[in-house]
Amino acid sequence: MGPVRSFRRTNPLTVIVGVVLCVVIFVFLFSPSSSETAAAQFRKASAASNPLSPPTSPFRKPNEKSNGNRVPPPVVHYHMNNLSSTSDPVGNRETILILTPLARFYKEYWDNLLKLTYPHELITLAFIIPKNREGNAATAALQEQITKTQKTGPEKKRFASIIIERQDFDPPLASQSEAERHKMENQKARRAAMSRARNSLLFTTLGPSTSWVLWLDSDIVETPPTLIQDLAAHDKAIIVPNCFQRYEDQKTKQVMERPYDFNSWQDSDTAQRLGSQMGPDDILLEGYADMATYRALMAYMADDHGDPHMEVPLDGVGGTALLVKAEVHRDGAMFPPFPFYHLIETEGFAKMAKRLGWSATGLPNYKVYHYNE
């Protein structure tokens, strides 16, 4: 027995095979796949050295060896002349900031985000969440998903950076139920608070390197995975897809869809006249029977077999899904929390952008879907 075993062990062939196997394993372990290398390199290159850096990029954790001595942050140059927002954002490596005012967290929303085909190392997510019980629950749920994606998920799915902001909304929105939310008298206060939340989120996260801003409501649960590329391809300053809602018809038990967002519209003379008769603090609202504005709503322009690339000019936009070139926001276009030409929030934003020389475009046949409560 002994001599036989010893013969096997000392066989040079076995040793060679073992060594070769070892090398192969090492090669396999050491070299990540090529696509991962590019993304990882980009992540590494865009990482800032301290936590004061723009939140749209990850940062290296402060070294604990510095034993309390403050290391002065470096002088950083940002070449904003080179910042572009073009119709080929993937080719030009343009970074996009997805902004979501979050009241409730839907798993479907997160799953839909993960499905986006835009390179995730170019996407930064930012959330603003109210500081109340519901907000705490939403934050916990969100953070759980974030940990799953950013820490243990596949590298390809990880986002460049994620920012969570908490804020007390001035008039606390007691209930966010759909019926309560849409009551006309509640609209002005609600949308003013919403505007402040949107502005807070926007102006603290925009940073010096963002090319595009995508506003995506937390209840948008279904979009085409190529949403960003498709919208950016139109190369418009402000572009809005049509927001619909899927529902189950009571009688036929079939899944149907109906228009949901009525804030994207083309202005009408009636609305202009109504506005001119109003006091400076009154606002025009869309979708309420007792205020007939006769505006042309994009929600009703959809055609089941229409061309998804069809564009229409808009005067008011909705915020459920909204792609904006960052320079529009940088010029100062924000969501007015006060009646601006009798418009507020996203509709006021479209008006302000217009005053700054930017125009809004709608895609009536390109649909995104709202959660159905």
Binding site: S31, Y78, T204, F335
Partner: protein, 515 residues
Amino acid sequence: MLPSYASASSPKMMPRHQAGAYSNGYPRAKSDTYSISPHRFQPRTSPPALRRRRQLLVRLTIVLIITTLFGFFLWPGASILPVLSFGLLSSGEDFQLETVRYYDLSNVQGTARGWEREERILLCAPLRDAESHLRMFFSHLRNFTYPHHLIDLAFLVSDSKDRTLPLLSELLEELQADSDPKQPFGEISIIEKDFGQKVNQDVESRHGFAAQASRRKLMAQARNWLLSAALRPYHSWVYWRDVDVETAPFTILEDLMRHNKDVIVPNVWRPLPDWLGGEQPYDLNSWQESETALALADTLDEDAVIVEGYAEYATWRPHLAYLRDPYGDPDMEMDIDGVGGVSILAKAKVFRSGVHFPAFSFEKHAETEGFGKMAKRMQFSVVGLPHYTIWHLYEPSVDDIRHMEEMEAERIARENEEKERLERMNKIKDQFADPNGQWEKDKTDIQNEAMREKANEEKAAKEREAEQKAATEDTKPAVAAGPVQADKEATKPQEAVQESTPKSTPESTPESKQV
């Protein structure tokens, strides 16, 4: 003799364990077959299990080391960590990279004593062709008493044709590398962005009425770009400061912060040369709204921009600048509607909620004035301090320069005239002999002579008196002869002098007579 059994060599004793001996009673065969003799060394065919394992481990370690070295040779930058964790955890960089940030905005609302709560300030300075002011601005930065590490600096350098950018980076690097740990600031961003401004930055074109509206809209755009790129969720305050402020208190940040207002501005004046009155209100963009201005605004078209300080728009607004009393209470507050941009301290929540510098006509105003209006529209408090003054640099206008040139020319002309006059005088002096020296000499001589004469006369008079006294007592003829002789001797030298003087200076005779 020993007993026979003690000797091994004794032929009588049977050697018990001898090779070849019949130990078990049988004769050993010559063939090398099985034997269990314990004394016989049998070479082992394989090493013991323990040693075998050790050898294996040594070999494995050697192989591992060689392979690792080989691996490091191939991929010098690779990390050993994923190998040890079998790539299950994640790749190397992510161990140091942090991708999730959490901010609570209710902690950064801004309070009156921000330095105690470690509230961070974002200091924004838009720059264009500002090279000449940078060093002065940096001395202001170094003098701030607010903890420097709580101040983040953001500069927007746009459309500069001079060395603003290289000088700025150089000064900032110097500042961050300062050996005094209290000097370096927090995050520092230099943002380079050109807007293609057509308007010149020289004083005349900057303040001309026609250029104001478009100039202010472009300025507003620059300010918005700077703010949107530099504002972070951790900022409690935003301070806007022009680089051309010449004099300001070191404690200005704390002084303004103490008022705990949403937007607050000091009064801005500028020093002037004495011929212009010594000082002058500079920033006329901080004002209170007036009925006249509101009425005027209603008549203007949607894109018109009202600008202060020009005769074209008479608004009759109370200006912060004109209300200054040099001895007034510096803490006095005044509600205002439009603000000037030289030095604005605002809570970051103002900017977070969407207030910005309108680059369009917002309620007929743009830039900082529109900012004040918009802040008011969102119910923020906007306040000015009429008696707390900072001093803007005096840059002479074209008119001033012309005037100063005129004054300079006048001064030079006056100086030249003076010089010419002097020269003329010298020439005259050189051409004609100066008699003054001789005159003086003669004068003193004559004076001396006169003095002596006077002294002699007095002496003679005294002697005469004495003689007369004596004469009255003694014989008369003896007395009479003495004084006459004395008189004659005394007058003799005087006569000689009088004779000699007329020869040299004939004109001196009247003078000498006077003496």
